[in-house]
């Protein structure tokens, strides 16, 4: 097969799986519509999709979502900045020595397996109900996958490349910059993407538990007011935002990794 043929075939496969995904989503919406309109599902548990749609249009048109959206995204950005900085730095310095990797990698992996959201009450005691506690929690949760993948990334660089660079006289700084960093990059980027995802999720999640504002807060408020269609509309809105951000981050990761 020619190179162009391969590209065309790959494009066709991607197009087909995209179509299948759209059909699947449509099927979910149709089932939803049938359940709410025909099969008599309680409107408190499952509001009609058409009502949810009108509420969504209203939310978007009124622009009332902006303060909550900006707050949640701001919290996520701040938390990610902190977790990325600390995670990359920790991961890199641990990866420098096999002894340190042996000590800290299992420790970090163990803590990563703990549901850190359990510490939310503690964070609220320390940082209050507002944004700081969400940022701190998101940064903590995002830190672990970033640190772990940074360790894995730097440890995965083939020793042959290191020996080869040393034989040509590479200084430690040049070795890091031209060999270790590009060698570790794909796995480190995966860690950053995973860290971003869990940071965003935990921030929205913690907003639904205890908060003053934000998208998660808004959803819980509507639930307590029993405004089910509007709450569902907000959920759809958050899903679209999260999926969009995830797609952007994934694309960025793939493009950077494809430079090899």
């Amino acid at each position: 097969m020619t190179a162009r043929g391969v590209v065309a075939a790959r494009r066709q496969t991607r197009w087909r799986s995209g179509l299948a995904q759209i059909v699947f989503l449509l099927a979910v919406v149709i089932l939803w519509w049938l359940a709410a309109n025909r099969w008599g599902a309680s409107p408190l548990l499952l509001p009609k999709p058409q009502l949810v749609f009108f509420e969504l249009v209203d939310i978007l048109r009124s622009g009332e979502f902006w303060p909550d959206l900006l707050l949640t995204l701001g919290e996520a950005a701040a938390a990610f900045a902190i977790s990325a900085t600390l995670g990359l730095a920790t991961g890199f310095f641990v990866s420098v020595s096999p002894a340190l990797v042996k000590v800290f990698e299992p420790l970090l992996a163990a803590v990563n397996a703990v549901p850190i959201i359990l510490f939310l009450p503690l964070y609220i005691l320390f940082f209050g109900l507002g944004a700081p506690s969400k940022i701190a929690l998101g940064a903590t949760i995002g830190f672990f996958p970033i640190a772990l993948n940074t360790i894995a990334g730097f440890s995965s660089v083939d020793r042959l490349y290191v020996r080869s660079a040393r034989s040509m006289g590479a200084s430690p700084a040049k070795l890091v910059r031209h060999v270790l960093v590009p060698g570790a990059l794909p796995i480190v980027l995966t860690g950053l993407r995973m860290g971003f995802t869990v940071t965003l999720l935990s921030i929205i999640g913690s907003e639904t538990i205890a908060s003053l504002a934000g998208l998660g807060h808004q959803i819980v408020n509507l639930a307590e007011a029993m405004e089910m269609p509007r709450m569902f509309a907000y959920i759809v809105f958050v899903i679209v935002i999260a999926a969009t951000l995830n797609a952007i981050v994934t694309r960025f990761e793939k493009r950077a990794a494809a430079r090899r």
């Binding site: 042959l160 034989s167 040509m168």
Partner: protein, 273 residues
Amino acid sequence: MRDPEIAVKIKNVAHYFGEAGDAKHMLALRETTIDFRRGGLLALIGPSGCGKTTLLNVIGGLLTPTQGSVDVCGKTVNGPMPREIAYVFQESALFPWNTIKENIHLGLLFQGVPKNQREDRARQSLETVGLGEFANHYPGQLSGGMRQRAALARALSLDTPVLLMDEPFGALDEQTRMVLGEDLSVLLSRTQKTIIFVTHSLGEAVFLADQVAVFSARPGRIKEVIAVDEPHPRRSGFVKAEKFTRLRNQLYDLLHDEIRKTVDQGSRPGAFL
């Protein structure tokens, strides 16, 4: 007392792997003292685990021997010597995230060559190995043979008097090896470089080498050094010559018992670093 005709001087070098008292403590290279003259290709041949790669890494400064010392071009080796020694490894040690040209530029940057000279040297070395048109390809886009040519180009661009090659054609198929061997012989006829070349192949050793150092089984030492008195560039006709066959058979006799001993020891070697 420095003799400019001696490229590599090995003085009482011995090497153990593992710590003393450790279960894995093992003598990899028995005490070796030998001088290698400047110019030409010296092949190190011997059974697996005989310490030939260990000796190469000691010469290259990538491994500090347990005992003894090595002088290269009159300087005591004390770590990598990028101005004196370049390496070609068994697998392509080209950085896969850089193009061939970028790889060569990076080697020159590591070595400390000023920026304005790098482009010329990269182009020249690529042309020497016949890869001028592939400068902007990534290693993953080239065949195994082309990758090793590119690795050789990177080593040549560093312009060192000594070149160490650790089974550079080991991962290639027979035909590609033959062609690369002939090209290397042409290169040898044009330069004053001293090349030390680790190989498993008797034919490759006789075809390329001016001297062949035969190692004993582990723990290795150099058992004998055989001279191959044949000017470079050697053509394919040399393979068919009676002299080639005689030398190859001589090597075979020297090696056969050692290889038998190694296989009977039963264990895989630990000589790779």
